[in-house]
């Protein structure tokens, strides 16, 4: 297993070093926030999740020991779990077995600036497990091995989630003629 690039920083945070705390926030906050925003599709809720993730980090930093997972994998898992709590609360829980296309409403016409909104809506409409896989590999730039470890599944299962997720996105985004 390769060295964890965050290990030393986390050790310093655990020892109560204020400079390390600032460095960790600067390094991880953009990643945590972008993950939560894309999972939840709600900036305010995503900020709450980011804050809660850091509370967990402060609480566990002094006890954190690298086991099977890297620190980055661990915080992604914490963030995803917090996102799932919120999705459950919103009663938006859908299992991976549900149809890929869950939002039959027509997507808005494509105008400059609206393309991102179309993608956001499509991403929110696919099954959460497929959404997670796409976000981790595509936006969080995790390798297939890291993403599979974060989701606690095999690489083959990850590839299956990715393929189904991308197909679903393609179908939804093509529906309004904006994509072939």
């Amino acid at each position: 297993m390769s060295a964890d690039p965050d290990e030393e920083l986390v050790r310093r945070v655990g020892a109560g070093d204020p400079a390390a705390v600032q460095a960790l926030v600067a390094r991880k906050l953009p990643r945590i926030l972008s993950l939560a925003v894309r999972m939840l599709g709600d900036a305010a809720e995503a900020e709450d999740v980011a804050q809660e993730t850091f509370v967990r980090i402060w609480r566990h930093a002094s006890k954190w020991r690298r086991g099977n997972a890297r620190f980055d994998t661990w915080i992604h898992r914490v963030t995803l779990n917090l996102c799932y709590d919120r999705l459950r609360r919103r009663r938006e829980w859908v299992t991976d077995e549900m149809p890929d296309i869950v939002d039959p409403a027509p997507l808005p016409d494509s105008h400059p600036g609206e393309e991102a909104h179309r993608v956001e809506r499509a991403l929110q409409a696919i099954a959460p497990r497929q959404r997670e896989a796409i976000i981790l590999v595509y936006y969080q730039e995790m390798s297939n091995i890291e993403a599979a470890a974060t989701l606690e599944i095999s690489v083959d299962a990850l590839e299956s989630l990715l393929s189904r997720g991308r197909r679903a996105l393609q179908t939804m985004l093509a529906r309004d003629g904006g994509h072939d």
Partner: protein
């Protein structure tokens, strides 16, 4: 992790299409073990067509960017960290105080135990001489003289 250890020369259109369907058209996202073979296949006509098709969705996904964290969120997280550090420092001081008190208490208990072990116990037959006692008897003027009465 079977995909990462299998022979990376086994790349054909079917596998290339399956990987493009999962990871998109950018080979940098593909499994490291298959990237080299995929790069070679990508220059073929079939490879180019598959990459082009996958790239269309990639371009749409690229358009969905999220805002960087605001200063308010950043500061709020740092304030929470400060509060946590202060609380932890207080807890450490409290535990240190408790530890010292425990050590003091243990010392006192050990001292008492030592005194009780070292000090001889006063026996019931222990005879205490008083000021009027002599080797021949009690010299007290009021004491009864047994010999004279004989």
């Amino acid at each position: 992790m079977a995909r990462d250890i299998e022979d990376n020369t086994a790349m054909d259109a079917k596998r290339f299409a399956a990987l493009a369907e999962a990871y998109g058209g950018d080979l940098r996202r593909w499994p490291e073990a298959e990237r080299e073979a995929a790069t070679a296949f990508a220059s073929s006509e079939a490879g180019q067509a598959i990459s082009r098709h996958a790239g269309t969705l990639d371009a749409l996904l690229d358009g969905y960017s999220v805002q960087h964290p605001g200063k308010a969120l950043h500061d709020s997280i740092l304030r929470a960290a400060d509060r946590h550090l202060v609380r932890r420092r207080r807890q450490r001081v409290w535990w240190l105080g408790l530890g010292l008190a425990g050590i003091g208490l243990a010392g006192a208990v050990a001292g008492l135990a030592l005194v009780s072990i070292v000090t001889p116990e006063a026996g019931s037959d222990h005879y205490v001489l008083d000021a009027n006692a002599t080797a021949f008897g009690d010299a007290n003027p009021d004491a009864e003289n047994g010999e004279e009465s004989l």
